[in-house]
Structures are given as structure tokens and as C-alpha cells.
């Protein structure tokens, strides 16, 4: 896997294997460690972190790889979630199996991706952002209002009692015992999400290194020049929207089955912005950075829950509501990152070098080149 480890790991394959083995062991035991150390609710947060890693990697294809600013990404998440919710709940009395609906939902989201992509092909930058923002809102408003004349989405109340994930006839909401180990629902979902997340990471890495990934990079850098290289920019941009939407739809289906409940409130503009923040904070276009961004943005706000009890312990009452602090601190963190690390917390090596050249030799060479040109 490129870029995931510091250089010395490439030179010593044994070291790399040891690092991967340690990482695998950590990922496998993580729900038990977290459960024992921090409580069951944190395992749930972990599940959500994995879900958001998938979503952020999906948006990263559109924003990070192809350079198309999409502010309505949550629409695809919503499409995936509602597709599963409508076809596997008492809402219409239809209960299709999870494993059939998950890929179908991703496919439907993919179609919506093309639907959004096609009319916006000629738009760039700010204009594209505004149209995608509108698209996200249209989907949410539709979901909010499609309870009449025919009750498809149950309007603002949302859809309840959605079928859980079933593996071999066993519902993942109930605890399961494997080899004497008792796995509660949060744990089994963790493993399911982990496997799917690894799949998404694998696909994202393969895409980035492929001809398609190179075409996206060219479009991101200079669309006219990309066309002149013989790249069919129209198809490649549509493909980026479609691939990103597919990941979003996948995440949506998982979300619906995991929560058992969906409502339009989960798919607001704020949610799109959060996912975009994960991508930008972590390091646009750099897969490990995006993963880190998704995990941090999911987990850090949860830590604020401890601030209420902390205040009571120190001054005897809750002076500042943690819910108010959440957005304030989030804003401060964003501004700080953009000021001090504009390239993201964990940018790709090329991008990092460009903003903060570590090697003074390189800078000197560049300056000499400029001097030559001026002479």
C-alpha cells in the first residue's frame, strides 16, 4: 500500500509486516479494548467512525481526486439509506434481504451520481459547489415531503423498524457467541463495517493508481490540458461522480440497517459539510489523511460529552452547555488547521513538500532556476 508507512518500512519488509500485523491485531481487538476501557457507547461511536471513513473516501474521489467541489454529497448517503429503509421495513411491508439491497442501493446512488453529474459538467469551482448544494437540499426536501399523495418516505417522521443486517439468518442486533466469546451488536457491526471499510480503502487505492486515477488528477490540475492529452473529460467527471455516489449509497444502506431508523434530519447540509471537513482536514486526495480526518471529526466532538460532568465536578453546575461548545470548538479547530496546516493534517508527500519544502537544497535549486530565467 503506497504512502501508508514512513520510508524506513519500505526498506525493511520485515518491519513493514510487523507494523501491519500490529495494526491488524489492534483493529481486531479494538471493540473489546474500547468496551472495557470506555464503555459500550464508545464502540458505537467507533462503528460510526468506520461508516464516515467510507463516506469520506467516497467524497474524496470527487473532491480530492477529480477536484470537483461537491457540497451535496449527503444526498447519495440519503438515497442509499432510504432505498434500504423503504424496501426492508414495515413502511411498505416489503422485506427484501440486506445483501441484495446493499449493492442495489449503491447502484441506485450511482445513478443519482450520474444524474447530478450530467447537467453540471460545464460548471467549475464555486458554480459547481452551488448546484451540488442545491441538489443535496432537493433530495432532502423530497424525502421530507414524499408522504403524499402516496406515503413513500413517511415524511418528517422518518421510517422506523428497519430490518437489521442478517448474516446466515442471524440478526446482528442480537448478541452472538463465537468460540465462547460473547459479541454484542455493536461489536458485530464493527467487524462488518471494518471489512467493508477495508474494501473501500482497497478500491480507492487501486483507483488512484490506475489510468482513471491519473485522468482525474489531470482534470483536477487543468481540465483543458487534460482534454488535450486525449482524456475524455466528460466521461471521467461522470465516473468520478458515479464512484463517489456509489460509496455514499453503500454507507447509507449500512447506516439505515445499523440505526433501524432514518429521517430527513440525518441528511442536512451540515452533514455534507462535516464529510467535506473530514476530507479537507485530513488532507485532500491523500487516502491515509482522509481516513484520519474522518476518524478525528467523528470522535473529537464526542469527547465534549465529558465537559458537562467535568463542570459539575469543578464548579458545581453546568455553566456552558457542551452542545453549544461543539460547533464553536469545531470552528476554531478548522480555522487553526487552515492557518497552520493548510495542506491538511496528513497530506500526500508531494503536496506537503510544495507548501513546506523540507529540503533547503530543493528551494535553492528552484531559486537558481528562477534566477536563470530572469538573466
Amino acid at each position: 500500500m503506497p504512502d501508508l508507512l514512513p520510508n524506513r518500512f519500505y526498506r525493511d519488509p520485515r518491519l513493514a509486516w510487523a507494523a501491519y500485523a500490529a495494526l491488524a491485531a489492534l483493529l481486531l481487538t479494538l471493540p473489546f479494548l474500547v468496551d472495557a476501557g470506555m464503555g459500550r457507547s464508545w464502540v458505537r461511536i467507533l462503528d460510526f467512525a468506520l461508516l464516515y471513513v467510507m463516506l469520506a473516501l467516497g467524497l474524496n474521489i470527487v473532491v480530492g481526486f477529480a477536484g470537483l467541489l461537491d457540497l451535496g454529497y449527503v444526498a447519495f448517503y440519503a438515497v442509499g439509506a432510504y432505498f434500504y429503509a423503504i424496501l426492508a421495513s414495515p413502511q411498505l411491508g416489503i422485506h427484501l434481504p440486506f445483501w441484495a439491497l446493499l449493492p442495489l442501493g449503491a447502484g441506485v446512488a450511482c445513478l443519482f451520481g450520474v444524474l447530478l453529474g450530467a447537467p453540471t459538467l460545464r460548471l467549475r469551482g464555486d458554480y459547481l459547489a452551488i448546484v451540488t448544494l442545491g441538489f443535496g437540499e432537493i433530495i432532502r426536501i423530497f424525502l421530507n415531503n414524499l408522504n403524499a399523495p402516496f406515503n413513500l418516505t413517511n415524511g418528517p417522521q422518518g421510517i422506523n423498524m428497519i430490518d437489521p443486517v442478517r448474516i446466515a439468518g442471524h440478526s446482528l442486533t442480537r448478541p452472538i457467541e463465537i468460540l465462547g466469546l460473547k459479541l454484542p451488536g455493536t461489536h458485530t457491526h464493527y467487524y462488518l463495517f471494518l471489512i467493508l471499510t477495508l474494501g473501500v480503502i482497497f478500491v480507492a487505492i487501486r483507483l488512484q493508481g490506475s489510468r482513471i486515477g491519473r485522468a482525474w488528477a489531470a482534470i483536477r490540475e487543468d481540465e483543458v490540458a487534460a482534454e488535450a492529452m486525449g482524456i475524455n473529460t466528460r466521461n471521467m467527471k461522470l465516473l468520478a461522480f458515479a464512484m463517489g455516489a456509489t460509496f455514499g449509497g453503500l454507507g447509507g444502506g449500512l447506516f439505515a440497517a445499523f440505526q433501524g431508523f432514518v429521517s430527513p434530519e440525518s441528511f442536512t447540509l451540515m452533514e455534507s459539510i462535516m464529510i467535506l471537513c473530514m476530507v479537507v482536514l485530513g488532507g485532500m486526495g491523500h487516502i491515509p489523511g482522509v481516513i484520519l480526518g474522518a476518524i478525528l471529526v467523528t470522535i473529537l466532538p464526542e469527547l465534549l460529552r465529558y465537559i458537562g460532568p467535568l463542570q459539575e465536578g469543578l464548579i458545581g453546575r453546568v455553566a456552558v452547555d457542551p452542545a453549544d461548545l461543539r460547533m464553536l470548538l469545531f470552528g476554531v479547530a478548522l480555522v487553526a488547521v487552515m492557518l497552520f496546516r493548510p495542506q491538511g493534517l496528513w497530506p500526500s508527500p508531494v503536496r506537503a513538500r510544495e507548501l513546506h519544502p523540507a529540503n533547503p537544497d530543493e528551494v535553492r535549486q528552484e531559486q537558481e532556476a528562477l534566477y536563470d530565467a530572469e538573466r
Binding site: R214, E221, D222, A225, A228, M229, I231, V350, E362, E366
Partner: protein, 236 residues
């Protein structure tokens, strides 16, 4: 048969008629230049040849087929490669990645590797800087990169739009030495230049554009000697 043959080509920007029906042709292996003042329609004509602007009227025939309606990327795949004004290098990709991108639609990896060596031979500077990003190069180096990248597609027709623009005199000299070298190796070239003397000295034939029309065409040596051209474009 000419490699490219244009008849009655008109290019409009909204209501502005930038090119008002021009005829031109370039034979295989020839170096032809388009000269003219700012706004004469040089760049518009060239962008229409590459497919970046639609033709409002007229036909473009390339290697015997009508390509007037063909989109940019398909013209590129057939061998029309354009080095745009302002160079258009990919700023955050390395020099090597930029060059690889030039060979995007090719699948013969041995041929690509050989061509990479060839362009590094033409531009040793690029080999030195192959791990640097395109945006960190000097103007002259970016122009070298843009030309090298165009060559990586093994074009049959290379379109060069103002290769001297914004470059220091020394860099211009280097670029034009290389252009002459590429031409001597048999490449078909269509060249746009503000620097008319340089363009005419590097080409075998030339067209003079004025207000969207071709007003003179002749061998470059004849144009260099023509009193009208000398007065209007050569400052003599």
C-alpha cells in the same frame, strides 16, 4: 494531400467574430507559422484546429478525413497535439508524471519508455527536475515541459501557441533551438508567434492574419523580405 487543410474557417466568441473565414493548409513534415498582431485571430484559429473552440463555419480536414465536429480528446488521439498558450502544465504533478500524462492514451509501454528517454535527451533540464512538481519550474522549463509532454503522445501535427510568451530572451533562444531540432527530425508544425521574425526564421511558410482574415501568405523567406510585412511586423 495535405496533413491538415482548412477551408472557410470562422470562429465566433458569442457575438464577436474572431476568425472570419480563413483557408490554410500544412503539408506533412512542413513548418508553418501564423503571425499577426494581438487579436488578429491567431489563437482562435489554432484552438479551433485543436477542437477547443467550435467552428462557426468552414471545414477542417485532417489526414483526409473531416474532423470539424470531432471533440478535442479524439483529435488528440489521432495525433493533433497542442501546446496551449500559457503552457498548461499540471502544476501539482511532477515533471515525470506530466510527461506520463502526455502518453495517456498510448498502451505501448516500451515505446513510451523510449520516447521518455528521447524527450529527456531533447531537454536535459527536465531529467534533472523530473521529481519536481510542474508548478515549481521556471517559465522556460514549463515551456520545455509542455512541448515535451506534447511529444510524448507521438503527434503527427504539433500546434505551438506562442512558445516565446513571457520568457526571458535566453529561454526563448533555447526553446526555438529545440523547436528547429524537432522540425529537422521531420515533425509537422504549426506555430503561432507574436515575435514574427523568430517565427519566420524558424518556418518554411507563413500566413499573416489581420482582423480575422489572412492577408498574406508566402514562403517565410519571401515574407521576411516583403516591405509590407517588414513595416507592420518586423519593425523595419
Amino acid at each position: 494531400m495535405s496533413l491538415i487543410e482548412v477551408e472557410g474557417l470562422a470562429v465566433h466568441y458569442g457575438g464577436i467574430r474572431a476568425v472570419k473565414g480563413i483557408d490554410l493548409r500544412v503539408e506533412e513534415g512542413e513548418v508553418v507559422c501564423l503571425i499577426g498582431a494581438n487579436g488578429a485571430g491567431k489563437t482562435s484559429s489554432m484552438r479551433a484546429l485543436a477542437g477547443l473552440l467550435p467552428a462557426a463555419a468552414g471545414t477542417i480536414r485532417y489526414a483526409g478525413t473531416d474532423i470539424t465536429a470531432l471533440p478535442v480528446h479524439l483529435r488528440a488521439r489521432r495525433g493533433i497535439s497542442m501546446v496551449p498558450e500559457g503552457r498548461g502544465v499540471f502544476p501539482r504533478l511532477t515533471v515525470a508524471e506530466n510527461l506520463r500524462m502526455g502518453a495517456y492514451f498510448r498502451t505501448d509501454s516500451a515505446g513510451i519508455a523510449a520516447d521518455l528517454e528521447r524527450v529527456y535527451g531533447l531537454f536535459p533540464r527536465l531529467r534533472e527536475r523530473r521529481a519536481q512538481t510542474g508548478g515549481t519550474l521556471s517559465g522556460g522549463e514549463q515551456q520545455m515541459l509542455a512541448i515535451a509532454r506534447a511529444l510524448m503522445s507521438r503527434p503527427r501535427l504539433l500546434l505551438l501557441d506562442e512558445p516565446s510568451m513571457g520568457l526571458a530572451p535566453l529561454a526563448v533562444q533555447t526553446i526555438f533551438e529545440t523547436i528547429r531540432l524537432i522540425a529537422a527530425q521531420g515533425m509537422t508544425l504549426l506555430l503561432i508567434e507574436q515575435n514574427a521574425r523568430l517565427a519566420l526564421e524558424s518556418s518554411s511558410r507563413g500566413y499573416v492574419l489581420e482582423g480575422g482574415r489572412i492577408v498574406h501568405q508566402d514562403d517565410s523567406t519571401a515574407l521576411l523580405a516583403s516591405p509590407k510585412v517588414r513595416a507592420a511586423y518586423l519593425g523595419a
